[in-house]
Symmetry: C2
Subunit: 382 residues, 2 copies
């Protein structure tokens, strides 16, 4: 396989972008990434979008975006893996360059969720329509069941869940592209509106519009454009049952651990070699379970770890220095690419006030549904 690097990034602010359409925000992010990378051409484009059909009535997203970028006849393909669509788009771009067929590929992600569609119903199409959604469960309910089981089995507390939100809002307050730059207190999280017991409003990532794009390049060609390419040292993906009720345990995310094992093997490293990570905190409980499945903490100790500050910006393993989905926002198709952007900014030392010390190897973990798909990338500053 050819070595692949990330050499440029661009994103919109995440939030309620009512003055811009789906294509507007994608083009904004893509042009920023192209300018940032200084490339002289693009061979191919991938766009991660979960459900542009249901959100804004537009499929064939690859073709739409290439056209609005003024980049015909460059090929463009849309990739979907629910909320892991961005990670999936990045992975396809990586594989295309690794194969040797292309040299420079743009991987982007986009979602426009605030334009009037029924967001809860549209997002629920990431769960099993026949066995879960038909019976009335939606995502806050599914993650609430995971949270209850984790509390029961490991003694995880309501305060530990809240600590994830407090930490991520603190990090996000230092991210100019974050949807919510306000800090929240433990008490505010604990007293916010109940959504699905035990998860409250401030345990949930928001509904967001946003787009993000990165430029990937073969390592050989990267030297033409930058002195500071960030190498992709692992790309791995795994699946789990689409339904929560089919799993042996509600407190494990097998797709995460399976993808992590493959990723560490490809990179030739251990969990302890990771300096910082972006984890898919669609709900606070998700971050706790994910940090366990990635091997950063023993099973059942993820809640205590966040409470003890081990995942804070200056902790043992900073998690979601960007603010995570919780504070930065979660335009579902864009999230996986925004995670890569945070890795790039940290690994190039350009993360400003939220810079992680000695950031050399970072991991991005992007997840679909209640964990039925997981895509992990590991990037290294060389």
């Amino acid at each position: 396989m050819k070595d692949v690097a990330v050499i440029g990034i661009g994103m919109t602010k995440f939030g309620e972008l009512w003055n811009q359409s789906l294509r507007d925000i994608f083009v904004e992010a893509a042009l920023k990434a192209i300018e940032n990378s200084k490339v002289d051409h693009i061979d191919s484009i991938y766009v991660g979008t979960m459900s542009s059909g249901l959100f804004v009535g537009q499929e064939h997203i690859g073709a739409v975006m290439t056209d609005y970028l003024g980049m015909n006849p460059i090929p463009a393909t849309r990739v979907e893996s629910a909320c892991a669509s961005g990670g999936a788009a990045f992975r396809q771009a990586y594989l295309e360059i690794a194969s040797g067929q292309s040299e420079i590929v743009l991987a982007g992600g986009v979602e426009k969720m605030t334009d009037g569609a029924d967001v809860t119903e549209s997002l629920a199409t990431a769960a099993d329509q026949e066995y879960e959604v038909y019976n009335g469960v939606t995502f806050p309910g599914l993650y609430a069941m995971i949270a209850r089981a984790h509390m029961h089995q490991f003694g995880t507390t309501r305060e530990q869940l809240a600590a994830v939100a407090v930490k991520n809002h603190k990090n996000g307050s230092m991210n100019p592209n974050a949807q919510f730059r306000s800090q929240v207190s433990l008490e505010q999280v604990m007293k916010s509106t109940m959504v699905a017991d035990p998860l409250r409003l401030l345990d949930c990532s928001p509904v967001s519009d946003g787009a993000a794009a990165v430029i990937l390049c073969s390592m050989d060609a990267a030297k033409k454009f930058t002195n500071n390419p960030i190498k992709v040292i692992a790309s791995a993906q795994a699946s789990d049952t689409i339904t929560l009720h089919s799993r042996e345990s509600l407190t494990t995310l097998k797709a995460v651990s399976a993808a992590a094992v493959k990723a560490y093997k490809q990179a030739g490293i251990k969990p302890a070699d990771i300096n910082f990570a972006e984890a898919h905190d669609c709900f606070t409980i998700a971050e706790i379970v994910i940090t366990e499945e990635l091997g950063f903490f023993e099973k059942g100790k993820g809640g205590a770890a966040v409470e003890q500050g081990l995942t804070s910006l200056n902790g043992k393993i900073p998690i979601n220095s960007s603010g995570g989905l919780k504070s930065k926002g979660h335009p579902v198709g864009a999230t996986g690419i925004a995670q890569i952007i945070e890795l790039y900014e940290q690994l190039t030392g350009k993360a400003g006030d939220r810079q992680v010390n000695n950031a050399r190897i970072g991991l991005a973990q992007n997840m679909g549904g209640s964990g039925a798909s997981c895509i992990i990338h590991i990037l290294e500053a060389i």
Copy 2:
């Protein structure tokens, strides 16, 4: 790049499959392909679907299908490029193996269009929602404009359009998986219900359910499973404007010609070296324009070619020996994979009554929307 081969195929009958769900038909096709190929494992899965969200309210299709195949934790990704989604899924599987990251990949396509959704509205999301669909045009209208322009510019006749349908229904009558195995006469086509002048009902591909799957394998590993691997000698893709009104000419499909140039270059061959082809005949006029853009006939001569029998099963370059979208059916996400299946059957000499003589190199041309995306694969019997 590593060499890649197709080593097994499976598909459902195309048609109105009211007794089976989206997941049922995909699993049926995938299991047939796995059994047909005799592989001992699968590394990864790609699923092409245009709009499962709008058709049946289910996204996250990769995860759903891996689960229902009982194949967790194998990674699975959904790929969308409107009606070229199947070709796009095949291309991603090809690139993953060519990169060396995987050895054996299943590429499938599926669509369930008869379950109650508004098909015309759902399909229209492959056109530009803001500039085309909002103003009332749908796909029969877009292709009718192409047909009128082609008739005006090159003297293409109503009879020549009808000849495409007559030929493809004749071929499809010999395909046990075709939706319509009835032959039609020139007079029947010419007198069928008007849809969008000059296109009549029998100029249009039908609304269909169906699934198709193939197994791709690195050429090195293929020898373990078969004595007859079919080599993928080109995979190419290109884009054109999403809207018809943005094009310099209504009678050219630039994404087709651009992808064809790349494909012939990769394969190191000329149009004349192709023994037969599957072309994306969503409407009769599409096949005529495509055969010109692929370089089989001079610009403007595609209509005369079909009338003279040059594209018939025993003609100079047989087009759509399978029956094409017109007769075989067009479950949009499955179509690109079904084209590959026809190539495989012809190249292994297993196409029965519709076998093309001396079939050694075949081309599959899959297209999205009114031609905004095009994916071409060339396969060779070695």
